[in-house]
Symmetry: D2
């Protein structure tokens, strides 16, 4: 009964290599050594991380060669119309740029695939996108649109589905929209990832879902992903990390003349170097372990039950609906200029 | 945008008092002192906990006076037809017993209310129940059925809705079906709670949802609740508790001739007394704190973000559908004998 | 299994008395004698018929005392954005005028009821309206909104439902939105009727659905109705009428120097006096009968089967969605000015 | 905005040739001359018409070479559990027989395609079937299931969709389930047609939907069709026919000592020879015209509006749900024996 198949590590900037090298020098070093270029910029309230991976980089970090653009509005809330508007605008700008090289003929087709399971709220962005595109008054004739469902519902691999339609339709471009898993709960529903590398289920996870990519299909595949869930063990390890670091930061502050300490962020403050031995008296030796070591400990001791759980915002239905509309609106705007 | 309002502590046997007193003697003592009677029994694979709270008990544990029956199949899986069949059978037996005293007239009505938000998968049991009852061929004429939605959708308190209909319809009985939150993730979707006390949102949680009860409406209210979510901070504290206890148990085992240690349970083994100082070298003083102290620490350091998250099974859609059908089937069977 | 209960003669301007008196003098005579005032006007492409019925008129034509405003765009198609925009604009203008006398307090509530059966496409305007209102970003706090479903689904009369909520909520105004039946298939989905008289199921039809009106509830009830179906026998009689009249018109034309004959209209041309004996050679004595006599003949000879059928546009799903959005948008605009 | 594409003359036994030759001798003559074999039989309450068309027959009546089995329960109502049970049983018997020749390997796949538009109630049988198959506990691993939607929603021909999936999946069998149009309103929702010839949109109707058949795909295609709509002009012509014939029958009866006249049937009684000149005094010369001539007259004089209308049972939602469940249940039973 395989009806749910989150891709666990889809966000490029959660790759260990990208995450770890955060200072300017480190980034430059990473780029020289590993074939990865990272550029951070801001457009209004939107934080944009633009990552280019070449063949060498693919070997280094196991992420497919290509471009990965991550757009975030860290302070986004459901009521934040301005935030959503800026996010849609930047998505459009970057989506346009990514497809500039394509030259369009009269009868070129675009295959839009809304992945995911309509009956699982946080996985429904893809299907809802197709619904929204359908209900818009003017359907662009370039679009062929499907929400193929999940293997547990259809008995057929999603990758096979896309390959079958693509082979017969021969579209100029395939656009795949999907919900993602993240390992930072504060990014849930606040981030969009855009990539020209398609969909690549992690090889190690035992995920049999087929890759959807230019390499497989001979047609460019652009993937738009929005993180809407985090796995339970990831959440737990992150929470412990955050707790330990915030305690350590407080202890460290005591000796400094600093005024105030912001604890507003859930995600561990990665840049800051903290002496974790400060909290050893209370939390023992394990406070000095790495986050990964602690997550491994949880995975071992918590046995199997927790792996069946997902963590998602309580208002997932509103978030999913907003993002489906945002992507639909962006695609219509983009297509109207082709 | 209040569209989601899990009742956090609905399961009676998660009340601190009920949980803590687990040995036979402790139970007897609890009953004498606090006006709570607890009876555990098994019916096939179904574990049944029957709790009677009287006026004195209500003061002691803050749970409404009345009967609370909890039915669990700890090993239940989605494929386990036998488990679901046994659970439905025991639910029917206990539901019948609870309503034995009612004598039915020809035109007595029963108001069935499916609470919850249809667009949030784990909250959709109530609405789906109403759908299933509707699609059954023979609608019992005794039934009046509504899925009133949530306040964020309708602009009206659910309690007000039920009061309005009840006042005009004057049903003989109100049956309220709802999804619940639990603080033990291993009980998610494996437990049904049946109570004649209706719905009582926790007083301290700032939950404005009105009580649905005999006291408010002058009509008996039976509530059927199924735990489908756990709050993120609860999950985290539970996970740490489980981890610490399983390490401590392992350390303790080293000195004993015991053969094997089962780590299969996620929920802390409450019965067993463990010397937590055994793990102090690694986990520090913290390991000897109570579970509640640790949860409080997480709540303080994790700021606000985590309170917006819920944890639910990845296959929530299947579970929710199964329970909606199970309750619909039980109710039809029960009504056919009236 | 009563799940569908079209109100057969809801459009005021299909009342026999209103229809028959079409010339200016006839209208004046009708107004003097029967307490009915009829005013026709055009606003852009929107044809507006404004009918005022007083107590005397209510006795004469069996339509409740009050105001009935019918707005039509006879040439409306699904693609006609301008037509829909004009229709919405005129609906807003007339809706405002109808409620001018109400003065609003801070916490006055408006109960919006979307009648109809969500699972029958042409009956789904009411439920879809509630969906659209819910998905709009800013829910007006004045609104309390329900799609109560139909008696076959809930086991409860819709009128009872509205009465129950209205009694407890005590709204300042009740707005009821419903799909209607028409007896002119060319008006299907091209007309909106607005009335301050509420919902009054025809007395003779054996329709048990309760009236929803100021008289019953003590609260003003405004009804917005959109005709989306026509009954099969009505369609048949109309079709025969149209066929006979168009043949007669053709025959009559032969003797006149007229150039062209428009047959574009499906609805019989009511104004024109035609000598139906012209077609008697082909169609017999029958051609000279009245439309009503012919319909009665069909009803007698066609036995029961046809009464179970409804006639609706093939693209009912699009029409229903458009009107639900149109009414939602109008209501939001109106409420933003209160 | 092509979202609705009823196939107008799909029921084989509504082909003029099949309908007209109703006596035993006529049938034999038809079979000899035209390569059509017709066999009528009854199985309990189910009327079964089994039509075999060979290459010669295909030329004669324009229906594809192959087998057409029509199963009807003329007295079927929604509450008639026995009727539905018999219909399902006979469908299973005939479905089995039709596929007896196929020998199954371990990993053979069956592609099940639920055609139609989910948002148009009478067209939703196909999509609902897929839903029901999905919600059944044990999904047969042989099944690959899709409800591809309609061209207006997806931008892609349904035939292309099926061809694309079929080409890649290479199923052993394709099963296509669809709602049909009939020209006899008394057959609405009371008939199932089973054929091994696939889906062949009428050539003359300007219907661009691609054929789904063995000839096109190289894979056997079985189609299961249920008539749920009738076109408005067909209904009108049928109603006039019925009316005229029932009057003529009554007039004829006057001169006979017959006891009783059944008018229960809506469909014209085709077997009986009636002297239509009996009604000429009232209905004129046109009473003696053929049904087809009269329909043509309606089509000419009613212009375009009526062609946009469909006629369907008022309780279409219940019928569609019942048939979706019936076909799902039959398919599961059949597959369990493979």
């Amino acid at each position: 009964m395989q009806n749910f198949n989150w891709q666990r590590t889809d966000l490029i900037d959660e790759s260990e290599e990208v995450v770890v090298h955060q200072t300017k020098e480190q980034k430059e070093k990473l780029e020289q050594s590993s074939g990865i270029q990272i550029e951070d910029r801001n457009a209004g309230r939107v934080k944009i991380t633009d990552v280019l991976v070449d063949a060498e980089g693919e070997k280094q970090i196991g992420k497919k060669e290509g471009q990965y653009i991550t757009l975030s509005v860290p302070t986004l809330t459901l009521e934040d119309r301005d935030g959503f508007a800026q996010l849609e605008q930047e998505l459009l700008v970057n989506f346009k740029k990514m497809h500039d090289a394509l030259s369009w003929q009269e009868d070129d087709k675009i295959l839009i695939v809304g992945l995911g399971n309509r009956t699982i709220t946080p996985d429904a962005i893809g299907p809802y996108l197709i619904d929204h595109l359908h209900s818009l008054d003017v359907i662009d004739e370039k679009f062929v649109m499907y929400a193929p469902g999940v293997t547990g519902q259809t008995g057929y691999e999603t990758g096979e589905f896309v390959a079958a339609i693509a082979k017969r339709l021969q579209p100029k471009l395939i656009i795949v929209v999907d919900a993602l898993a993240t390992r930072a709960s504060n990014r849930l529903c606040k981030t969009i990832q855009l990539t020209d590398t398609g969909i690549h289920p992690g090889s190690g996870v035992g995920n049999q879902r087929q890759e959807i990519s230019y390499e497989m299909l001979g047609i460019p595949v652009t993937a738009i992903g929005i993180p809407t869930v985090v796995d339970a063990p990831v959440l737990i390890a992150d929470a412990v990390e955050t707790m330990l670091r915030s305690i350590a930061a407080r202890v460290a502050e005591r000796h400094k003349p600093s005024s105030k300490l912001s604890l507003s962020s859930w995600q561990p403050d990665i840049q800051q170097e903290l002496d974790m031995s400060l909290v050893q008296p209370i939390f023992g030796e394990w406070a000095t372990w790495s986050r990964e070591e602690r997550q491994q400990l949880f995975e071992e001791t918590l046995a199997g039950a927790h792996t069946q759980l997902m963590v998602t915002p309580k208002e997932a239905d509103y978030w999913v609906d907003r993002y489906a509309k945002l992507v639909a609106s962006m695609l219509m705007n983009w297509a109207s200029d082709l």
